[in-house]
Structure formats: C-alpha cells, structure tokens
C-alpha cells in the first residue's frame, strides 16, 4: 500500500540523527515492546508479512510521528485485535476479561535460543521454471495496490536488468493477507540511478532491489 512506510525518495525529513555508542534500547519499555513483538510472533498467530502490513497501515500522520517501538506496539495491538486474541476492552483495562484463544506455541526462556537460531527461512521448493534469466531487461509494473506489496513506489514502471536469481520465495503480497504463501521467483534487479530519478540523478548511482516475478515484465 502507498502508506507512510514507503519512504524511498521522499523529501524534507532533514539530516540523519547520529548517536555515538548508541544503545539497542533507549528506555525499558522499548525492551519490552521489542520482546513482546517477537514473543507474540513466535506463537504462530500471524506471518512476518502480516505484521509488516499492520505497521504500515497505521495512518500516515501516526506512523511518521511515532518512534520505532511505538510503531511496533501499535502494530502489535492491531494484530491482537484482528486475530481476536484480545478484545479492545481488555487492551484498555490491561487485564484478561475472558478466556484465551489457543495458539500454536508459547515461547519459553529455554526455547529462545533454538527458535532464534532456526529463524524463518522464506525459500520454498521450485515447482515451475523461472520466467527471467540473468541479463534480461525487465520493467517493473505500474501498480498501486491498497494491500501489502514490496515493490517500492520509487521503483515502479522502471527499467532494470535481472542480475541474480535468488530462488523461489514466499510472496509477501499474498502471504500478508491470509491468501497463502504463493511462492514465486525472487530476483535481484539492477537499476541505474538515472532510470529511477531522471537526469538529475548522481550518474554513478546504481540500485539493487529484490523483486518477485509478478512485479516484472519483459522490457
């Protein structure tokens, strides 16, 4: 969706704020918000793509004025409500008012290390041949779905070259919305800066963007 998260090429945000010896967390609540999000993710109640969509579909003014872990917290609350794991009244009161819904698993201290070490690979069996070969010139689609997509706005309707074929990966556009993984070929596509930003672009800028087959046509 064309939400506030799709930041590539937007202007006016000012200088980058650097911090020497930056800590991972700037407050105790950030630690808890981080860990709550990971622990709830581990229950298997939603996919990583669904959780990204929950965050990016926050109203733009809210997204842009929230700190990172505020966005995570608000995204988590949305997911809990969407999946009916909690009610709005329970969130408001901060206590359970009814029975829990069953979840696939509950992360324990002992299982943290093995669960993190395993991760969640996104590659899947290859069931059909790749449509493109390395060196093919492709054009990204002009599209504006209101749903989740990983084709950034700045890279739509642009010409590039297939540089690497990563393999078959879970397709976020379907997986974010409960429509299954629909695994499809994922490519690294090379773009010239001038083909994205026009003649004002730094002539020595090139970009590499990981794009799924449905985003691409032969140029």
């Amino acid at each position: 969706m064309n939400g506030a998260q799709d930041l590539g090429g937007q202007m006016g945000f000012g200088p980058i704020e650097l911090e020497d010896n930056e800590p991972n967390f700037h407050a105790a609540w950030e630690e808890r918000a981080f860990a709550l999000t990971l622990a709830m993710g581990a229950t298997g109640s939603w996919t990583i793509d669904t959780s990204r969509f929950a965050r990016e579909s926050l109203p733009p003014a809210d997204y842009l004025s929230s700190s990172y872990y505020e966005i995570w917290t608000k995204g988590l609350e949305k997911l809990l409500l969407d999946k009916e794991l909690v009610t709005a009244e329970e969130l408001k009161q901060g206590k359970a008012l009814g029975p829990a819904k069953p979840v696939a698993r509950v992360l324990t201290a002992e299982t943290v290390a093995p669960v993190l070490a395993k991760g969640g690979p996104a590659d899947r069996e290859q069931e059909q041949p790749a449509r493109f070969r390395v060196g093919d010139r492709v054009r990204t689609k002009r599209m504006h779905p209101e749903t989740h997509t990983r084709l950034p706005r700045y890279a739509r309707d642009a010409e590039g070259v297939i540089e690497v074929i990563h393999g078959v990966h879970v397709f976020p556009d379907s997986n974010a919305h409960g429509k299954g993984e629909q695994p499809t070929w994922l490519y690294s596509v090379a773009f010239k800066g001038t083909d994205i930003w026009g003649e004002d672009s730094d002539p020595k800028l090139t970009l590499r963007i990981d794009l799924w087959e449905p985003y691409l046509d032969i140029a």
């Binding site: 981080f34 709550l36 990583i48 917290t73 969130l91 509950v106 690979p121 020595k204 090139t206 970009l207």
Partner: protein, 211 residues
C-alpha cells in the same frame, strides 16, 4: 517557569502513555498465557549481550585474512556465516557484497527496517528512521557526507534496498598497513557502519595516533 521543585516519583506518577500501554500489554498477554515473561528477558538479554556487530566483524576479518573463506562467503554467505554459528532470525538468506576500488556498497530498507540481525544485531535508530530511509536510495553521496565519508566522484555507489528476506552484509575494503595482522586484530577495525556501507573500516594509522 513554574516552581515545581518537589521531587517526583518516577516509578509511578510519571509513566508516559506508551510506558503504560506496553506495561498493560505485557500484563494482559501474560494473563492470557500467550507469553512467558522469562522468555522476554531472554530475548532482550540475547540481543544485548550475544548478537551484535562483533559477529559481523569476525566474518569480515576472516574474509580479509583467508582467501578461501572470502570465496565461500561471496558464493554462499548464509553457509559461510553459519561456520561461526551465526544463523537464524533475520539472517536466513545472507548475501555479502564487497567494496573495492571502483564500487561502494550501501544497504537500506526503504519500506521498513530489514537488517542482518545475525551479524549486526539490532539496527540503530537512524537506520530505521525517515531521513535515512528516504534519502539513501536517491542521494547516497549526501547521506555519506553526513557520516563523514567522502568518496571519489568516479566511484560507483551501489545501494541495496532490502525489500525481501535477503539480508546484505557489506565487506569493507581492507585498510592499508594491515598486512599479516591476525583476525582478532583485523576485527577491531571493522565498525558496524562499515558493514552497512555508511562507514569505512578504521584506518590503523589514525587509530594509533588517536591512542
């Protein structure tokens, strides 16, 4: 200025909305049995003490010191990084990209905050914030200026937008004057930013002067 000179109780009366909100969430989810609070402590502890940019620095140092390892890393970074035991979450599909005389690589996630956790730990705030995410893809040279990195105009800047589950680790150029150094010593030159591409490896000559 009003004269509030009495002491405040920071544990109770001044909790911000977000602190209260997160605390309420944790209580609720614990009561529901969806989470186990010691697991939260363990998650935090893991990223505070075990997983961070020192992991990546070891990978880079070995790539500099051992040509066979460098070849394995460039061919299959996930497997080569797993040789150190660095595997899993947000490092499932690793790709190493190497800086050289003609090319400088820089990594961003314009759509969220994708970052190679297994080798770099959790991303810094600037990496996740609009100024970097908006500008890295359009004006990387301007961004690098803000990091104090000034590259020759003829050098290609290759920006990697992490849109999928593939995670990128930049292998910075090995500094001059490090011939014959051990991996441990080399690793001390490898900064977090040099592995994102917003910095360069430390120059040993300058380090000695500083020390």
């Amino acid at each position: 200025m009003s004269g509030h000179d009495h002491s405040h109780d920071h544990d109770h009366s001044e909790l911000s909305d977000i602190e209260l909100r997160v605390r309420a969430l944790e209580t609720l989810l614990t009561e529901k049995g969806y989470i186990d609070p010691p697991a939260l402590d363990e998650l935090i502890e893991t990223y505070e003490t075990k997983i961070g940019p020192k992991n990546g620095a070891r990978v880079v140092a070995r790539a500099w010191a051992d040509p066979d390892y460098r070849d394995r890393l460039m061919k299959d970074a996930t497997a080569a990084i797993a040789e150190f035991g660095f595997t899993g979450r947000q490092g499932e599909h690793m790709v190493a990209v190497e800086n050289d005389e003609t090319t400088h690589n820089m990594v961003v996630c314009t759509l969220c905050s994708c970052y190679p956790w297994t080798v770099l730990g959790l991303p810094p705030v600037w990496y996740k914030s609009p100024p970097y995410r908006s500008r890295a893809v359009r004006d990387p040279r301007g961004v690098l200026d803000e990091f104090g990195v000034h590259l020759p105009e003829e050098k290609e800047i290759r920006v990697w937008d992490s849109t999928a589950e593939v995670r990128y680790l930049v292998i910075p150029e090995r500094p001059h004057g490090t011939h014959g150094w051990s991996e441990d010593r080399l690793a001390e030159l490898v900064t977090r930013d040099s592995m994102i591409g917003t910095g360069l490896a430390l120059d040993p000559a300058k380090r000695e002067t500083a020390a």
